[in-house]
Symmetry: none
Subunit: 402 residues, 2 copies
């Protein structure tokens, strides 16, 4: 439901909502007729919650459309990614904790390898490690361009993010990555006259950065992509009247959460138990907790069916630590499918479990798995409906109309 219609219905109370996202949860049988990862996993806790609650299949964007991590999470938070578009630069910057305000410009950077003619021979600089990249990023941070402030942070391996801040900056700038080897990086080129000033400043920075990097064996050049600025979304807390927090190990998901205005809960460790403890430690501080489990997706992308099964089981084993907090609404789902069979994000609908003891209309399903979800009481629905469903089951919405 569009924010302008939802907003007048909001009703404050003390009920707690937990959105537990196992990244890439949806799967496929690894062999014909067999179970999916979630079906193969031994998940007594989730099965009990499925029996007490209701399940269904959610479509992240639209049928057939495979979402990236950004859109897949935005939609769970209620922002239609066909309407609310995040630039890639902003996404990358947010992922490493850089705040991009309106008028700032963020871009994704790659270290690359150039030959003596200045042509790219490796678009990822031999996939140098994060350790190798760190001192290079440090050197880039020392570059100064008069009139603007420039922040650079490492992302991972050969990737970094850069944010430029100053007056009169517009982000309509083409990528400098030519998307192929054997040619030099492109200059930053303004797609629109208003962006000429920013493009010129980026070209100055690129010239100094290239000079700084020139003597490195592998990472002796760079490309920039996804120039973009703050997309100015309606803030999550205001949109839903919720004090919301993110519990995530990976920077990317912290970044998206921060972009929509959630607080970030800092914690030690990276296990499901550690994440649930972090929630427990801040239980009174927030109304809404987004908990992100990354490794389901990582194992899927590795093609590691049994590894993904084990991650799901490890979440199930840790679940009592979350349930003892007595959330009023608990949603367990994924942001998209990452079947080990296919080793990448896919478009397949995502298993969805909604447990809300006070208000749920139970279906006749007793297991949390794709086939069961296809028959669940929630039916097939768009992931964009997640937040209104969560709010409704938390008794946080007035009726619409008299």
């Amino acid at each position: 439901m569009p924010f302008e219609h939802l907003n007048p219905l909001l009703k404050p109370n003390n009920k707690k909502i937990v959105l537990l996202v196992m990244d890439g949860l949806g799967g496929l049988p690894i062999e014909p007729g067999g179970p999916t990862e979630l079906e193969a996993a031994n998940t007594p806790q989730m099965d009990r919650l499925a029996a007490e609650g209701m399940i269904g299949l959610s479509t992240p964007i639209l049928p057939g459309i495979t979402p990236g991590s950004g859109p897949a999470h935005m939609v769970l938070f209620g922002y239609d990614p066909l309407q609310y578009i995040i630039g890639r630069g902003v996404l990358e910057a947010a992922g490493v904790g850089m705040f991009v305000r309106s008028g700032d410009i963020a871009a994704r950077g790659n270290f690359v390898t150039l030959n003596s003619s200045g042509e790219i021979t490796d678009r990822r600089a031999g996939r140098i490690s994060s350790e190798e990249a760190a001192p290079l990023v440090e050197r880039l941070r020392t570059i100064e361009i008069p009139g603007v402030e420039i922040e650079v942070r490492p992302v991972r391996e050969y990737r970094f993010a850069v944010v430029m801040r100053g007056p009169d900056l517009h982000p309509e700038i083409d990528d400098t990555d030519p998307q192929s080897t054997g040619v030099p990086p492109l200059p930053a080129n303004a797609r629109h006259p208003s962006a000429k000033h920013a493009a010129e400043l980026f070209n100055q920075w690129i010239a100094k950065a290239s000079h700084t990097l020139a003597e490195n064996p592998k990472a002796n050049g760079l490309t920039l992509r996804g120039f973009s600025t703050d997309p100015k979304f309606p803030p999550f807390n205001q949109a839903y009247g919720l004090r919301a927090a993110c519990v995530s190990v990976y920077p990317m998901y912290k970044g998206i959460s921060k972009l929509v205005g959630m607080d970030l809960i800092e914690f030690e460790g990276d296990s499901p138990e550690d994440e649930f403890s972090a929630v427990s430690n801040h239980w009174e501080d927030y109304d809404f907790f987004f908990i992100h489990i990354k490794k389901t997706d990582s194992k899927g992308e590795d093609g590691d069916f049994s590894g993904k099964v084990q991650v799901i089981e490890s979440v199930d084993i840790a679940l009592p630590g979350l349930l003892e907090l007595k959330p009023d609404v608990l949603i367990i789902t994924g942001d998209h499918s990452t079947p080990a069979l296919i080793r990448t994000h896919t478009w397949h609908p995502v298993p969805f479990l909604l447990w809300a003891p006070a208000t749920v209309r139970p279906d006749d399903q007793t297991q949390f798995g794709e086939r069961a979800c296809a028959h669940g009481g929630l039916g097939h629905f768009r992931a964009l409906d997640t937040m209104p469903l969560a709010l409704a089951h938390a008794s946080r919405l007035e009726k619409f109309g008299a």
Copy 2:
């Protein structure tokens, strides 16, 4: 998904998609509690494909809305008929192979019977045969109107199509068919000042045509309907990055396919075997084949339940000829329902089977029929999602967003 969002995701490859449409496939029990036509049919091939693949029910337009053949096919091709509107004249002209360019005007024609007062006594001229109509159409073709070119072709029985080409033509003209007997045909009347010129030219043509027909016993007059011009749709091949071809016996479906930019495969015969052979003969030339089976609809409109069952069975028997081509994605569905019980198109959702060995998430259904489809893994969805699903299962879509 809107074309402007889908287009940047397209990824070329060599995978083949087959869309097999049994016109009016959806049915109803002819007696309470009995099977539908599809359920009654013995379809071992389709049942096996249903078991290996996934099934569901698709809604052609919106719940409760009965589609005509034009919109029902447009939606399967991914053109929302609430957004992309084809005039009836254009549809009829396209169906008999007349190309309507922007600025041309097409109309549907009926031969009618007039009494001595010029009042219509039969709106279909006693349903004269195609053979009787042919020489009449020949005479209409000899009529000349200065400043424009006019093309006339027979459609079937008492129906013909006319296309006017020339400068400054606008199609906002009311039907001349009064939709009742006992009154004369109406003049071509401009609904908008810009169409006055074209309306005047059509009235000149109608006067000459009426004079030409006056001495016939049955077809001594005519009416025109559905004045319209080229709707200018995004071409199918560009919209999806597919070399697409239509295999159809009936002109109407060739016309719609041509209208969206598909090639037409010519072939001899009219059986499912003939149609599948035509696909086989051009297997390397195209990435996408639309195969249209007409007789399921015809039998439904005749109220011939067992006849419709037999047509479905004849398709099933021929299927191995299609399967041996090893399509990567095979969709078997209808464009709408035509239950023999009701003898006309209806709004009921349509059985849908998606078979794609590499990527399908199988459900627990093992028969292709309406009741099974209601429980299938594809759930209930809009027919407009057909093309994105087909492209996704052919691995022809990149992910959306990072």
